[in-house]
């Protein structure tokens, strides 16, 4: 019974909000509709409506997927200080981190679904019913770790919120084992995603032991950057108490990870270019172009420029103390890593092909529209989950003995309710 009320009350909370909140929701639904419209076209005509080819057989969708797995993994950077270092200020906001992880994994899964040629056959992956090539296929591993991570985070968040809803203190002993598991699991999702690429001996650009460490390092830049932006927005728009010390911890994580990421880039550039061979063809294409083809060079140099500017802002105290510069650094980091993990990693792996053909790729409008649709689904999911979650956390929504009191409580809250607008 309490469970039903929990879902009912959480659901009701979604319909209380300011004009800004409703405007945001309507806007997201409009973008989703646009994406859905394009996706129906893709379903009817096949993936021929995209710019992908037999030469470059993964494109914008898998680029976004790769980036989002990193964002999901980076939620651990809130979980570790909250539970291992027992930081109260961060434990107050850790639920937002879990919500970010759930949303990012969900979006990553959607990006895979729009990428596959036969979504109607997705059941072939279900063990026993279908035939699941586990543990040989790295893609099978990715399915396991991503689904597991989604369930872990959903489970932990649900337990915390449901306890709160019932007015009980969540028992740390009961859920700490799951938190520990989730920490290791977070690292595993991005490691396995990196292995997905580095497993391919035929593609020297990916076949590289540094790939997984690079993935983790860059994820710990973009993830905290997104979290910092979300926390500030939530604090401003929903009046949710976020302490500055929590943001400062994330900032330090982000700064160090950014430095490591840039160091890794230099290490790769040295190995590729000190004595060039065929193994460096893709890197040459990415950074300088190859035989006149150079569509990706503006992307990677912008990414590096953005990351360098961000790390300078973060390292100079006078700059990072100004909120404007600090937020710019966060935005630059997110965009920089998004390019570097997507267009800068997935696409050049295909160029040139293993047989030396140079066939370029840039996403077309269909791919961009469908991707925007998925981003809108993600933002909507986050907004709704976070709104209900925050209301429960703050005790605005909860199980009470007295129904009348509950009703009276609802009308009062309406004024203070506002919108949780991420990104």
């Amino acid at each position: 019974m309490a469970l039903l009320l929990f879902f009912r009350d959480a659901f009701r909370e979604l319909f209380r909000g300011s004009l800004l909140y409703w405007g945001w929701i309507v806007f997201l639904w409009a973008v989703i509709a646009l994406g859905a419209w394009n996706y129906i076209g893709q379903l009817n005509n096949g993936l021929v409506v995209t710019n992908m080819s037999n030469q470059v057989s993964w494109g914008f969708y898998i680029s976004n997927f790769t980036f989002l797995v990193g964002v999901a993994a980076a939620a651990v950077m809130l979980v570790i200080p909250a539970y291992i270092f027992n930081r109260k200020d961060i434990r107050d906001v850790v639920l937002l981190g879990d919500t970010m992880a759930v949303t990012a994994v969900f979006m990553a899964m959607l990006f895979v679904i729009v990428d596959i040629g036969r979504p109607d056959r997705i059941w072939h992956m279900i063990p026993m019913i279908g035939s699941f090539n586990f543990p040989v296929s790295l893609l099978a591993w990715d399915v396991v770790v991503l689904s597991g991570y989604l369930l872990l985070n959903l489970g932990i968040s649900f337990y915390l919120l449901f306890s709160h809803y019932q007015g009980r203190e969540a028992k740390l002993k009961a859920y700490l084992p799951f938190i520990m598991l989730a920490i290791f699991w977070a690292i595993s999702i991005h490691t396995v995603t990196a292995f997905l690429y580095s497993a391919n001996t035929g593609r020297p650009f990916w076949h590289n032991a540094l790939l997984a460490p690079r993935f983790i390092a860059s994820a710990f830049c973009s993830g905290p950057a997104i979290a910092i932006l979300i926390l500030q927005i939530v604090r401003k728009l929903a009046g949710y108490p976020v302490r500055q010390s929590a943001i400062d911890t994330l900032r330090v994580t982000m700064t160090v990870s950014l430095q490591i990421t840039l160091f890794f880039v230099v290490a790769e550039l040295f190995t590729d270019f000190y004595h060039e061979g065929t193994h460096s063809a893709s890197a040459h294409y990415l950074f300088f172009g190859l035989h006149g083809a150079a569509k990706l060079t503006p992307w990677i140099w912008s990414a590096l420029a953005l990351l360098v500017v961000a790390v300078i802002i973060l390292m100079v105290r006078q700059l990072r103390r100004r909120a404007v510069f600090f937020n710019i650094a966060c935005v630059l980091t997110v965009i920089g890593v998004w390019i570097e993990k997507g267009m800068g990693l997935v696409i050049p792996g295909y160029i040139p092909t293993p047989l030396g053909e140079i066939f370029e790729y840039l996403p077309n409008s269909t791919e961009v529209m469908i991707s925007l649709g998925i981003w809108a689904i993600g933002l909507l999911t986050f907004t709704l989950l976070a709104k209900a979650g925050m209301a429960i956390e703050r005790g605005q929504v909860g199980l009470r003995d007295d129904i009348e009191e509950q009703l009276a409580g609802l009308t009062n809250e309406e004024e203070s309710e506002s919108v949780a607008t991420p990104g």
């Binding site: 037999n54 057989s57 992956m125 893609l139 497993a199 293993p354």
Partner: protein, 312 residues
């Protein structure tokens, strides 16, 4: 299809947008279904066939009865889609046979008869060719310098040599490892096959293949009825659905019945040697034992069953 083309001619009419909208949503009107019998939403397909298609088992897990029903259904589907009668059978591998291929690059003159014969034999769509003939600079093996779309009046061109590439039928195939649903595997006769009805179209095998030997059906493969080779095999040249990966399968529909693959038969210079690696008296064994052979990207540990050699 006809309907869509007509309406495309007058894009200003509201009716056009309405129809385009309905069409996209899949709510095709009765008239549209009639006019587009081959490609309509259901297109004359029975409900039973639709369900059977959806729940079709993996090739290796089908009972003989299920397999026969599937083959019949494939024949009906081809009739509906292409308006032509085909026969689709399942030809199992022959015991004691493992196929191998060797190409004499000093004999290959770049005519590309193999490429076209393969396309006709295997019902390839216009965008897919299992064989690519690389035009290479003499004195170099640099694939990046190769021209795969050469278009000369006559071949061979002075200073060039020609190297055909296709699926190497690796004995340690990275593509098979990659597949998350076991939709591709190596048969006992060494041929790496794809169950086109089990493939989910994730294209990870294409990322894994070091020889660019796998191809995706980006759109519904459209072939004119008179171009269809009606003698087809389940793990071979049967018409492929949209959204799945396909590749060279050493012409299972021929070679498992003791014939040579289409590319070998078409080669006018005799550069192609195909046969049973387990038969000590076969021509391929002679080549392997008496010529200096090499394999492409052998360093990757893929163990191709595809060799190159030269008489010069």
């Amino acid at each position: 299809m006809a309907n869509q083309q007509d309406s495309n001619k007058k894009p200003d009419s509201i009716d056009h947008y309405r129809r385009a909208f309905l069409k996209r949503l899949g709510i095709t009107t009765a008239a549209t279904v009639g006019a587009t019998s081959a490609h309509g939403a259901w297109g004359g397909k029975t409900l039973g066939d639709t369900f059977a298609d959806f729940f079709q088992q993996h090739y290796q897990r089908m009972t003989p009865e299920e397999l026969q029903e599937t083959l019949d259904r494939i024949e009906r589907k081809a009739q509906r889609q292409y308006g032509t009668e085909i026969s689709c059978i399942d030809t199992p591998p022959v015991e004691g046979v493992v196929f191998g291929y060797a190409i004499n690059i000093s004999k290959c003159k770049g005519y590309r008869d193999c490429v076209e014969a393969c396309a006709e034999e295997n019902n390839l769509g216009p965008d897919i060719r299992y064989i690519h003939v690389l035009e290479m600079d003499e004195g170099s093996m640099n694939l990046e310098q190769a021209d795969r779309y050469y278009d000369h009046e006559t071949v061979p061109v002075e200073g060039k040599y020609y190297m055909p590439v296709q699926c190497m039928q690796c004995d340690n195939p990275p593509c098979v490892k990659a597949c998350p649903v076991d939709a591709t595997w190596m048969e006992p006769d060494g041929i790496v096959v794809v169950d086109y009805d089990w493939c989910i179209g994730c294209r990870y095998c294409m990322a894994a293949c070091p020889y660019s030997a796998r191809f995706f059906n980006w759109s519904r493969p459209d072939l004119p009825a008179d171009r269809i080779n009606p003698n087809t095999n389940y793990l071979g040249n049967r018409p492929r659905p949209v959204g799945v990966v396909e590749k060279c399968h050493f012409c299972t529909q021929r070679t498992r019945k003791g014939r040579q693959p289409a590319c070998q038969e078409a080669c006018p210079t005799g550069a192609r040697i195909f046969g049973n690696l387990l038969d000590p008296n076969s021509e391929i064994r002679y080549v392997l034992e008496h010529k200096a052979v090499f394999r492409l990207k052998e360093d990757l540990g893929t163990e191709p069953k595809f060799w190159y050699y030269s008489d010069r």
